[in-house]
Assembly symmetry: C2
Homo-oligomer: 383 residues x 2
């Protein structure tokens, strides 16, 4: 696989994408950080695939988004932070439809060509007029340089902006892939995103795009845990507009593209975990030597998600018996007397390798430590 | 059911039980709190039933205890706090056997008549000589008044002693039931105890005793969560020595006894949750109106165990959408648009009633809030 990172790249690095963001004051507590963003593909025939939260109490934009993405062709997204439009019932659905229709109208798009996405406080009414006013201001200012502002706008309690872009050489020529994500609290499979948007100027059929996205999630976003809860709004979405003139169709191209996508999502998952609410350290847990990959996945997640392990790591005090005890929560065929445990704790990350020497099953999970600050953030998140 | 609480009662309230405890210094950090206890039935033919942790990385005393309890007749237990004898391999098993044999010898019992039980730090060698020396000092001092000291000795980070005793009128006359428990961190089904010991002077066959104990657990200890992890040492054990001369054999007696046992264990589960590490509030979650009891159990546990719900409660800021979002983590047939949520937060407890108006399935779970102190305690627990 031949790829190259684009420094300071993001979702508008691939050809044919525009973005923009402004401050709308969605959240009552003023921050003046941009909180509404638009991502738009200039190509009419843009493929789109998306994965949404499995939480049964999903938010209005998720209910709406699931419908829209079904046809496989979507032109872009209107995204706001500060209010998740979750737990808002029929009024929330109406608000999301209202924002969608307003933006589609301004952009000259047909109904069902935009997805609305929200993140932030749940259970409160979306200030629709504020969001629409922001949309009105963003549309004329959409640009090739807007990716960074959009990545900033979707952040909530994230401390770091999460963007990525690279080039990839395929048999038909070069394509580009861009990404932005926001994470922080409420992160757990399946889905483990909060929000993540990917763009590419390759041409990819919607069904293939969906398969590539779902596969790439398996070892990244689905192996990520910050606090054990899925969110009402988790959305992972990818656009492929074909603006490069290069298609992903040949087996080796598909393989390379799949491999790149896995790397990008694993990198994003690690960055989201490292930036977990109140977290000081990224925790990577590798479970090895198990009978099956499924068993390894469950054990890696149990250790990465253990409140005790995370609290101990918060004070830099991981020890073997605690880790084995967390792994012991999983019903498995693992022989604990054969287990070997390696722990590496550095100032910003920790790695646990747990080898049961009993097979080829292995998996890696991403998590973070649990600190007093997490409690502060979540106790006071609403105020 | 005709029963009466015995004020200040405990495990030695029923006839024919002795207990005692001393300070042995099991944990290196000095506390001078008793940390080794013995509970003994004076009757040779005492029935015993026990449930142990499901954690695969279980401690040496659990491995040993499972074997011993199989024959259904055990005379008592040697219990230490401060060191769990977990993750200690063959040496740990040998240490537990050594303590058992030493105590049996001093008490004039046959091999396999005592169970050893441990709680505390995991992954460290049990200071066997200290424990044996404590046993030597306790044996001559065993008494009818020793229940309180034993309940104190088994505490680790518990802030409150957890004891209970009552009388129960059966068709053949009055019997007594006593209980002591310790909880705090690492509490989750199945098992959710850390340690709990029950005594009765009723005569109950071992198989029936086991059934009664397992049933009583279903809606109490198995619906209890403090931090989502099972422990390596969880043990729930009941002795029935027949010293009252009254048997539990008739259907109505069995029903009454079962009902009382459920009440005692639900009360203990609530007390353990309320005294969860760093917890300020007991959280009770009732899930109602679901298709099945199993669905209600999973939803009640998901809400009681949600880190987000618990952190919000730590700041007294529970709100409906957060609770529904936690419930939404469970795969269920619940219709969220029909959900009704009642929240009562008082200074020492909080109650959530979540009604989906979709059936007769209901369940109750016990949990607690998550505070900054939990992190302190678990980050520093070992030092």
């Amino acid at each position: 696989m031949n790829f190259q990172i684009i420094e300071n790249g993001g979702i508008t690095s691939p050809a044919g994408y525009l973005a923009g963001a402004v401050y709308a004051g969605v959240k009552s507590r003023k921050s003046y950080k941009p909180d509404v963003a638009i991502l738009l593909s200039e190509k009419p025939d843009t493929s789109c695939a998306a994965l949404f939260t499995t939480n049964r109490f999903c938010a209005a934009p998720v209910i709406l988004g699931r419908e829209i993405v079904k046809n496989g062709h979507v032109r872009g997204a209107v995204i706001n932070s500060g209010n998740a439009n979750a737990g808002t019932g029929e009024a929330g659905l109406k608000a999301a439809r209202d924002v969608e229709a307003y933006a589609e109208d301004l952009l000259g798009l047909a109904p069902g060509e935009l997805i609305v996405s929200s993140t932030g406080v749940i259970g409160e009414t979306l200030p629709t007029e504020k969001v629409k006013d922001a949309v009105r201001r963003i549309v004329p200012a959409l640009s090739k340089d807007g990716g960074g502002a959009a990545a900033w706008a979707i952040m909530t309690t994230d401390r770091m902006r999460k963007e990525y872009a690279c080039t990839l050489e395929l048999s038909g020529g070069q394509v580009k892939v861009g990404c932005m994500a926001k994470g922080s609290g409420m992160i757990h499979p399946n889905m483990a995103t909060t929000l993540c948007f990917l763009t590419t100027d390759a041409a990819i059929e919607p069904a293939l795009l969906h398969r590539l996205l779902a596969n790439a999630c398996e070892d990244s976003f689905h192996m990520l845990t910050v606090d054990g809860d899925t969110s009402t709004n988790d959305t992972l979405m990818m656009f492929a507009n074909g603006a490069s003139g290069v298609s992903v169709r040949e087996p080796e191209d598909i393989r390379d593209f799949a491999c790149l996508l896995e790397q990008i999502l694993a990198d994003m998952a690690a960055r989201i975990a490292a930036d977990g609410e109140g977290a000081k350290r990224l925790l990577t847990v590798e479970a090895r030597g198990l009978k099956t990959r499924q068993e390894a996945r469950r054990i890696a997640m149990a250790v990465a998600g253990s409140t005790l392990v995370k609290a101990a790591l918060g004070h830099g005090r991981l020890y073997e018996a605690l880790i084995l005890s967390a792994a012991g929560n999983v019903e498995s065929d693992a022989v604990f007397s054969k287990a070997e445990c390696r722990i590496e704790v550095a100032s910003l990350k920790a790695k646990i390798v747990l080898d049961f020497h009993g097979g080829d099953g292995s998996a890696r999970a991403f998590g973070c430590d649990l600190t007093e600050e997490y409690i502060h953030l979540n106790g006071d998140y609403r105020s």
